[in-house]
Amino acid sequence: MISIAIPTGTLLEGSLRLLRRAGVVDLGPDEIGRKLLVEHEGIRVVLVKPADVPAYVDYGSADVGIAGKDQLWESSGSHYELVDLGFGECRLIVAVPEASPLAGPATWPPSLRVGTKYGRATEQYMARLGQRAEIVQLHGSVELAPLVGLVDAIVDLTQTGRTLRENSLRIVDEVGCSTARLIANQASLKTRTDAIQELVTRIRGALG
């Protein structure tokens, strides 16, 4: 039995479509949404929060998982990242209020205060630039933080940029681009090589 962890939220539909097209398992969002754990023809599908997928895979409770690259940036786990699944594309960007004098990295003050849900990715990005930064870890409504003066800038995910515009925020740099990835547990790859390779091949095939 192979178990697959798939994320709730925006990647759920794409994940289920991919598993269906690859002929792995055919599940509707309602079916899995009601039960969280479905066993079907030798495949066990577990539905977990996007940020929890790496944990399920790293500890081996799921052999493979589908996770946004944005979640993998935040995880220090020991999984294998095998395939770029292409869907769920979004960008991790730096944004400031419209009225702010800040533009690209060259204009930033000696120490920048940044609010984000993506602490690790932000830290690595700032280190790459040699920019000193105070990172304020936030858990929601990140767009609000610069508007009330909590931070100079935010690092956040955006797909269309609409939420940013609605909150009068302007993008000044890109930290990275995220898509859904197929990850695998290191021991599962060794103890169930054939089954996992077959799954990977079918998923690659379904990507076209």
């Binding site: 944990a55 935040e74 220090s76 395939v83 770029d84």
Partner: protein, 402 residues
């Protein structure tokens, strides 16, 4: 867990590995030799009185190497040594793992070549057996195979560190993107992308051999083939697979490497390999190979498979009624002489109460000594009680399968 440790060390001693005690604190610069930057960062550090930085050991191979080059300097090589002890690492990741872990390991210092490699792998497999693990598997690979692939790749020099980093992070999406930029699609290129899947029986060596075009990888494949033959001769056909795609610290390992996996656990239980460069750092150059077993993970696997409780095994609980105390003392003494773990009750009990006491203790047998010529004997969890003379009970229990 202690039982598992004893079983592992006993197996190592049977193979002629001598137990050594190594320090828990070492100078940071010494410990750092065997570790990559990330592992160095995770060590717990403290300051010595003279201002030098000490660290709590995060693994015990380096302390063993220091011992071989230091106080065992006069001992002739090869040396076979084993050890057990706690290690501390600080894992700042998102999961709060335990800081302290327990490792049991063996090192064969001063011997190079496939016979030594195979011996250490065979010992690792036998240790997993001895610990009571029913299903396990050991994957054997070679660090030079990967380094050869990297040499053979038509890759700009400035990209090589990135390729190594992507592989160290097991990020094959990034690896694919890096290799897509190379001018030639070589066989090495293909092999790198298929890295996690280069696993199987001896056939994988031929398959890979047909593809590689560099001496370094070819030599690695030849060595692996020889080690695999020797492992078969050790009687370890089914337990061993070949894994050309195992990803480890390639700066440290210099030859055959291996990892042991158990069921129901997402991480390797045992890890080891050849590290011919380490001893030289301490002034006594010598080839070396060895492995260690993560005792905590092993305990977890055994617990999941229902093989063991939390405490060590007890063989016999000896209970007594007032008239039988002196006979009970003599009986417990004889049992211990035969190597059994015997607990003597501290207060008198009737037989029925003694059966409950045995169950609470978790001992395999109960003996109840009254004033009469026989003792009551109950084995296992059943309540059936036999009555035999004391000497006969001792003789029965002392039988190997008794």
């Amino acid at each position: 867990m202690r039982d598992t440790q004893e079983a592992l060390l006993a197996e190592m001693r049977r193979w002629g590995y001598r137990y050594v005690v190594t320090p828990t604190l070492e100078r940071l610069d010494a410990l750092a030799l065997g570790l990559d930057a990330d592992e160095r960062r995770r060590l717990f550090k403290l300051m010595d009185a003279d201002g030098s930085v000490l660290a709590v050991v995060g693994e015990r191979t380096v302390p063993v190497a220091r011992l071989v080059a230091g106080s065992l300097r006069a001992a002739p090589l090869p040396l076979r040594l084993c050890y057990a002890g706690p290690v501390l690492t600080n894992d700042p990741g998102r999961f709060t793992r335990r800081r302290e872990a327990y490792q049991v390991g063996a090192e064969l210092v001063g011997a190079s070549g496939p016979v030594a490699d195979a011996e250490v792998i065979a010992l690792a497999v036998r240790c997993l057996d001895a610990a009571g693990l029913r299903h396990h598997q050991v994957d054997v690979g070679h660090s030079e195979f990967f380094l050869g692939l990297l040499d053979g790749l038509a890759l700009p020099a400035d990209l090589k560190p990135d390729v190594r980093a992507a592989l160290a992070q097991r990020d094959f999406v990034a690896l694919e993107a890096l290799l897509a930029g190379t001018p030639l699609r070589s066989a090495e290129h293909e092999l790198l992308l298929r890295f996690p899947a280069l696993r199987g029986d001896a056939g994988i060596l031929d398959a890979a051999g047909a593809l590689v075009r560099n001496k370094r990888s070819e030599r690695a494949l030849e060595e692996l083939a020889r080690v695999h033959e020797l492992l078969l001769a050790h009687g370890l056909g089914a337990a061993v697979s070949l894994d050309l795609g195992s990803i480890r610290n390639f700066d440290y390992y210099t030859g055959v490497i291996f990892e042991g996996y158990g069921p129901e656990i997402g991480r390797p239980l045992a890890q080891g390999g050849r590290y011919d460069g380490l001893l030289e750092c301490f002034g006594r150059p010598a080839p070396a190979t060895g492995f260690m077993i993560h005792l905590d993970l092993m305990g977890e696997v055994l617990r999941l498979s229902g093989a063991t409780g939390g405490l060590t095994r007890l063989d016999v609980a000896v209970a007594w009624s007032p008239a039988g105390l002196e006979a009970a003392l003599r009986l417990a003494g004889s049992l211990r002489m035969f190597g059994m773990r015997a607990v003597l009750d501290t207060e008198p009990r009737r037989l029925a109460a003694a059966l409950e006491w045995r169950a609470a203790l978790g001992a395999a047998h109960l003996l109840h000594v009254g004033g009469g010529p026989t003792v009551a004997w109950s084995a296992g969890s059943g309540s059936r009680v036999r009555r035999l003379p004391a000497e006969q009970v001792v003789a029965r229990l002392a039988e190997p399968d008794g």
